[in-house]
Subunit: 339 residues, 2 copies
Amino acid sequence: MALRAGVSESTASRVMSASRPVGRETAARVRRAANELGYTGNSIARALRKSRTDTVGMVVPSILNPFFTGLVDSMERALHAEGKQLFLCDSRQDPEIEAEQLQSLLQRQVDGIVISACDQTRSLPALRAAADLTPLVQLDRRVDFPGADWIGVDDDEAMRLVLEFLHRSGVRSAAFVSSAMTNSSTSERLAGFRRHTERLGMEVREGWIVLRDYSIESGELAGQSLLDGRGPRPQSVVCADDLIAIGVLRACRRLGVRVPDQLQVTGFDDITFADYVVPSLTSVAQPTDRMASEALHLLQVASSRQPEDAGTRISLAPRLVLRETTAAAARRDHGEERR
Amino acid sequence: MALRAGVSESTASRVMSASRPVGRETAARVRRAANELGYTGNSIARALRKSRTDTVGMVVPSILNPFFTGLVDSMERALHAEGKQLFLCDSRQDPEIEAEQLQSLLQRQVDGIVISACDQTRSLPALRAAADLTPLVQLDRRVDFPGADWIGVDDDEAMRLVLEFLHRSGVRSAAFVSSAMTNSSTSERLAGFRRHTERLGMEVREGWIVLRDYSIESGELAGQSLLDGRGPRPQSVVCADDLIAIGVLRACRRLGVRVPDQLQVTGFDDITFADYVVPSLTSVAQPTDRMASEALHLLQVASSRQPEDAGTRISLAPRLVLRETTAAAARRDHGEERR
DNA sequence: ATGAAAGCGCTAACAT
DNA sequence: ATGTTAGCGCTTTCAT
């Protein structure tokens, strides 16, 4: 290409990357030559030389879970805006596959890794190791270790929004359904649930805490056990995920429990379908676009940081989206929104 | 690393890539050294040398559309099984963004590109250009040009399954709802719809063909215009996509049209939520796993092919999944399945 | 079976 | 403002 333009390799490089001033006419000649040859540069060679690939790896527990689909979409947009590419990895909720994916991303010299780890304890070793070698920030689910960077939603605040709203609309008892306690989302949401129900004087029985999976099937089973009439029924079911809540709604329909009259139900994540199920689902929205852009920002900061520095934790404000599975409240409050 | 093991760089390379026989003891020493140093190789350097990156780029119109989410998931699995990584790109239904994404993937020297192009005509130039430079196979939506490789479902056969089933259950008229005619899925499904309704003697009025977008909102609007009582009503609505069908179902609910008693509705793609809407949606399932593995196979074949060779087209068999939005048929047939 | 040396395509000193 | 040169980390001849 340089030959075609009649200049040296380095001049051509300078034109293509605009890294140094080049004579206007020379530059034009180079650009023309590049166009004629359809030359666009080889980013592999550039990456080798600059030890920067302009790629980011992302690892999620399941791309099929609509919340993560949304997060992936947000990341893809944010990266595209910066001219970077996204390596997408699905760990299938398996820490071993997750470790392989991390290994592969490191080997490919990604500029950073964004991950929602699948297991609070079993994901730890691979995660730490990866974080030692490259900028790494966790999204949503968190695994704690010294220096860990994390961005997510304030789960305690989310539970406060949900429970205060329910309380104001007259609800005095609540059940909680989530996945097993192997991830931070479940533990922090449960902690928030416990704290705020107690503070508000709402009744919670131990049989009303049901921990299974983040899935519709799971939610349906949980709903069934909660509503089968063999024990006292709560006035509301707070779910740690919209899929679970949709499952609970199915159980309600099957068992003839009227929502929201006999039972109020809330979800979490505000996935697209929350607005389309019947009755439509009240949920807590997470600011995924914001999470993605903060994550990219943190990756850049992390590149120029000392290893002994403390990790950064960014808790973003959740937003309560009111729909038909909850009754109208006595009065409105901050952070709520009726659609 | 080679130093640490006390061998030459080339010997170390031979051990790590198992490219040539190496003395057992030497090999062991190299492996130990690699372990101790946590050395795993630099795939950028390898890629530069071998001009093979073990990466595949995938471009879809919208990752948020559940059908493409499923396709991405299938591709990710298939690639992981072969030790390759996936560059995920979302073209946001925009041919210009799509062209940028293709350009970026080419520059990154991907081993192949898998794409579902967003626009039958406006995607063509960039697609052709990319296909000239690297193996490229189209999935689902097709753009025609000489030598184009494509894998998808047999849309005519899908329409045959749907319409013959409806006909057997007594339906004698049908409407069709899809996106605008800017992609092959719509045109081929519509062609199949026309052919089979005619063959079976089913009534189709021109006002019953509604073309908008692949979205729930769109489907709801289409449903509304079809059912608002201002014209004759079809006995069934065949949708080119599950999102559209879900929208039509919402319109039915709002207008008090009972499904399937007064109106039968079918979707396309068999997304997860098809099973969870009420009433649950009869749909045509696409074999996404099969599509992904065939796509990877084609990419490999394409790498060692002459430019003047004709393109390969693989039409896979669709599968009709019967649920509650269609009435029970008089009798069962091949290719159908009740869940 | 092992080592020495060249080179993939690029960029960043270092000249001029 | 432009050219010359070295080298990123690997694989692959070509020797031995």
